[in-house]
Amino acid sequence: MRFGIILAIVLAATWLALSGYFIPMILTLGVISIVFVLWMCARMSILDRETVPYLSVPLTLIYFRWLFFEIVKANVQVVKAVLSPDLEVSPTLTKIPYANDADVARTMFANSITLTPGTVAVNMENDHILVHALLKEMSNPEDFVEMGKQSAWAIGEAVRET
């Protein structure tokens, strides 16, 4: 029930933000769509934390700000490597240990790794993630510990340590 209300609010906000029209007919269509989506979700009984992760969106946005600066740093490294005349790269495959069981946290962590240029999550196992790195110095497992903590915090799985 709680997730149903959250989903309805989010859907309404999305509709209003994307349409920008406030005439009765469009609003009625919006209400009909929202009710239909809610009914379908309830019918499939998928109204839970995983389908409706919107409560942690503010945390995720704060996390994205942190991630953005990481991305800028990594981008500069990759640009330097790619534009250097020698094109000196040292591709490596590394196993990054990661123990969190929650699917959302794992997805967030792997997505953050892939989003950062120079590292791509290639394979997910239960206790580690196989990461392909463009430069050898990017594949230090210790460097990913901070990102693991931050990404777990971003979806509300852990308390932030500063």
Binding site: A17, L18, G20, F64, F68, I71, V72, N75, V78, V79, V82, L83, P85, D86, L87, E88, V89, S90, P91, T92, L93, A110, N111, S112, I113, T114, L115, T116, P117, G118, T119, V120, A121, V122, N123, L130, H132, L134
Partner: protein, 133 residues
């Protein structure tokens, strides 16, 4: 966009040069942001062309759709100001942050499952003067 900058600094009928500072700063900031984004897109494209194998090329492509696309979007948001358009652009930027790594991972994972072996170890661009093999 140059036109925008010039327009914001257009001379009024009086002798004094009338400058709309807010419009000027907005235009300059968005031009700088979009140009930086274009630089990263260019570097990413060069990387895709220059790097040796599939996995390393993914990194260069990733550069294009993170900083490249995001900086261009930020530039457009600055230009649009506080409108519904910039809200939509913000949503596009947010979705790009979620979907582009998912797609990259799907491609990389498919290649890994299909048994494509990555080139590992040091790699250097072949020497052009010595003749390409």
């Amino acid at each position: 966009m140059i036109g925008l900058i010039l327009a914001s600094a257009s001379e009024s009928q009086a002798v004094s040069l009338h400058v709309d500072w807010v419009a000027l700063i907005t235009a300059v900031a968005s031009v700088v942001s979009i140009s930086a984004g274009l630089f990263f897109v260019l570097a990413g494209t060069l990387g895709v062309l220059r790097l040796p194998d599939f996995y390393t090329r993914l990194h260069a492509a990733g550069m294009t759709d993170t900083l490249g696309a995001e900086l261009i979007l930020i530039g457009l948001i600055i230009q649009a100001g506080l409108t519904q358009m910039s809200l939509k652009l913000l949503i596009v930027a947010f979705f790009l942050f979620i979907t582009s790594p998912t797609a990259t991972h799907a491609v990389a994972h498919a290649a890994y499952k299909a048994g494509l072996k990555p080139k590992l170890g040091k790699y250097k661009a072949p020497d052009v003067d010595g003749g390409l093999k």
